[in-house]
């Protein structure tokens, strides 16, 4: 599966599809840190970044999973000894790319963006929030990829509409039971992230896992 993952990553990089979400990432980071974040507000900035970059993570996952033509996916299934490994390799490649994007998002403000270097604990919390964001984004991107949604227009609308819906729902009282983007942003802004970090992590990982499970299930009849 590792070798197939490398093949998919190589195809993604060579196809230049990587540039689209990468440009999106850099633009958003440019907006986030166009003015220096004052000391003490680093965790709040990280929380906003992790929540708002979900759409970039989803875009990256979708474009990576769409890189291979349909017939090549079938070839890859036989080469990797089964559909499960092809699906797993695709998700692993998507997570790898998004991990790289998340690392850029966490490190960039340390180089330019924060007025002062935050405490290591805040950097770690920021990294955890970005991991939650990339999990949710990867699941959303997978569910809108070509094997699941044949129409590019419907796929893009679902991706961006799904992300906006995610934000809006997380504003409501039931937000804590979905991917709790707004709750983690508010808690970080109020300096109370530690008190909600565990339930926020559990909810975000639960919904990400549910989305990925749905993707794997749908791929059984959509090779």
């Amino acid at each position: 599966m590792t070798r197939l993952t490398r093949f998919k990553l190589s195809a993604y990089a060579r196809s230049h599809r990587l540039f689209q979400p990468a440009i999106g990432l850099l633009l958003m980071l440019g907006v986030f840190y166009s003015t220096l974040t004052p000391p003490g507000k680093e965790l709040s900035a990280y929380a906003d970044s992790a929540g708002l970059l979900i759409v970039v993570f989803a875009w990256a996952a979708r474009s990576l999973l769409d890189t291979e033509p349909a017939a090549q996916r079938l070839v890859s299934m036989t080469a990797a000894d089964g559909p499960g490994r092809e699906i797993g390799a695709g998700l692993l490649a998507a997570f790898t790319v998004n991990l790289m994007f998340a690392a850029i998002a966490v490190v960039t403000p340390l180089l330019h963006g924060f007025a002062a270097t935050p405490a290591p604990g805040d950097v770690a919390r920021g990294a955890v929030l970005h991991l939650l964001g990339l999990s949710a984004g990867t699941a959303l991107g997978a569910l809108t990829s070509h094997p699941i949604m044949q129409s590019p227009a419907a796929s893009m609308l679902t991706l961006f509409g799904g992300y906006v819906a995610l934000l809006l729902v997380s504003l409501t009282p039931v937000g804590r039971f979905t991917v709790p983007v707004m709750p983690w942003m508010r808690a970080a802004n109020d300096g109370a992230l530690d008190t909600v970090l565990l339930p926020v992590t559990a909810a975000a990982l639960f919904w990400s896992a549910a989305g990925l499970a749905a993707y794997v299930r749908l791929r059984r009849t959509r090779p």
């Binding site: 070798r3 197939l4 490398r6 093949f7 190589s10 195809a11 060579r14 196809s15 230049h16 291979e68 033509p69 349909a70 017939a71 090549q72 079938l74 070839v75 890859s76 299934m77 036989t78 080469a79 990797a80 000894d81 089964g82 559909p83 059984r220 009849t221 090779p223």
Partner: protein, 302 residues
């Protein structure tokens, strides 16, 4: 490898593509799959390859190493031929020399440095064949492999198929052009009306019948069964002349008519129609092959 009571449809409310298919593929067998466009040939290949699970029924005994060549190789990938094959070789865990050896054999060495996107249809088909043969496969599935191939590769491919079968592999070929009709020992599979009808390999006496010496399998034979299951009646404008060319099982023969009568289908003339088709001489071979692949008897009247 066995398909037991396999039925398939793409969605819960969609139409059945295949229903209650029973198929046993023994090691060393070569199976040519024919049928009209949209009959379900590709779906059958997908089930055999394991790309999709059957909606009902089961597929058992699938060999571990499967090779698959799609009908249209996906050239829209950002690799040269050699880089692509190197990746596929690594994914399969095959010998690094395997791709080069196959490229030499299929006359594709000159393609290795080309980008996939620059390949012609036939050249792309060769790359698809090469990657499917890395392994080497115990189950090889080829979807229209002869389309666009040059003469040399077209002649070499049956030999490659024979070698895989000789070492115990199973080869399944969707072959609309009926290129394997003369392949010794090849079984023929017709996909039609959601069913799969198996025509077992021709016996030596059946492969090259002389004029007027067509074998009659007699009641109860496999060929009787094919007729009863609804093979198309054969339009033979000149019954007294024998079947002429294409006496293999895939193209039908006069003995099927005899078998049909023996199976109680009534006079075959009641179910025959003769359609005259005028085609350009350059296209005659192709049209004749397509008609035969679809289960009809085609005769050239010059």
């Amino acid at each position: 490898m066995r398909l037991s009571q396999v039925s398939f449809r793409y969605s819960r409310r969609g139409p059945w593509i295949l229903e209650d298919v029973e198929l046993a593929l023994r090691p060393g067998s070569v199976v040519e799959v024919t049928g009209r466009n949209g009959a379900g040939k590709s779906t059958l290949l997908r089930l055999l390859a394991g790309f999709v699970p059957p909606t009902r029924g089961s597929v058992s005994g699938r060999p571990r190493v499967v090779g698959y060549a799609p009908d249209v190789f996906p050239t829209g990938q950002p690799f040269t031929v050699s880089a692509y094959l190197a990746h596929m070789t690594r994914v399969r865990g095959a010998s690094p020399a395997a791709a080069g050896d196959l490229a030499r054999r299929l006359n594709a060495v000159h393609l290795l440095d080309l980008p996939l996107g620059d390949l012609s249809k036939g050249s792309a088909q060769k790359v698809g064949l090469i990657q499917s043969l890395l392994g080497p496969p115990d189950l090889l599935i080829l979807d229209e492999p002869f389309a666009g191939l040059d003469e040399q590769t077209r002649a070499e491919l049956p030999a490659v198929i024979g070698e895989i079968a000789a070492r115990g592999g199973i080869v399944v070929v969707s072959d609309h052009q009926n290129q394997l009709r003369e392949f010794p020992g090849a079984d023929h599979c017709l996909v039609a009306d959601r069913a799969v009808t198996v025509h077992p390999a021709a016996r030596p006496a059946e492969q090259d019948p002389g004029p007027g010496s067509e074998p009659d399998p007699g009641p109860g034979s496999e060929r009787d069964t094919e007729w009863v299951l609804g093979r198309p009646a054969e339009p033979d404008p000149d019954p007294g002349s024998g079947s002429g060319s294409g006496a293999g099982l895939g193209s039908g023969s006069g003995s099927e008519r005899d078998a049909g009568r023996a199976a109680g289908q009534g006079p075959a003339t009641d179910r025959r129609a003769v359609i005259e088709v005028l085609v350009d001489p350059d296209e005659a071979d192709e049209v004749e092959q397509k008609l035969r692949a679809d289960g009809y008897t085609a005769r050239r009247i010059l």
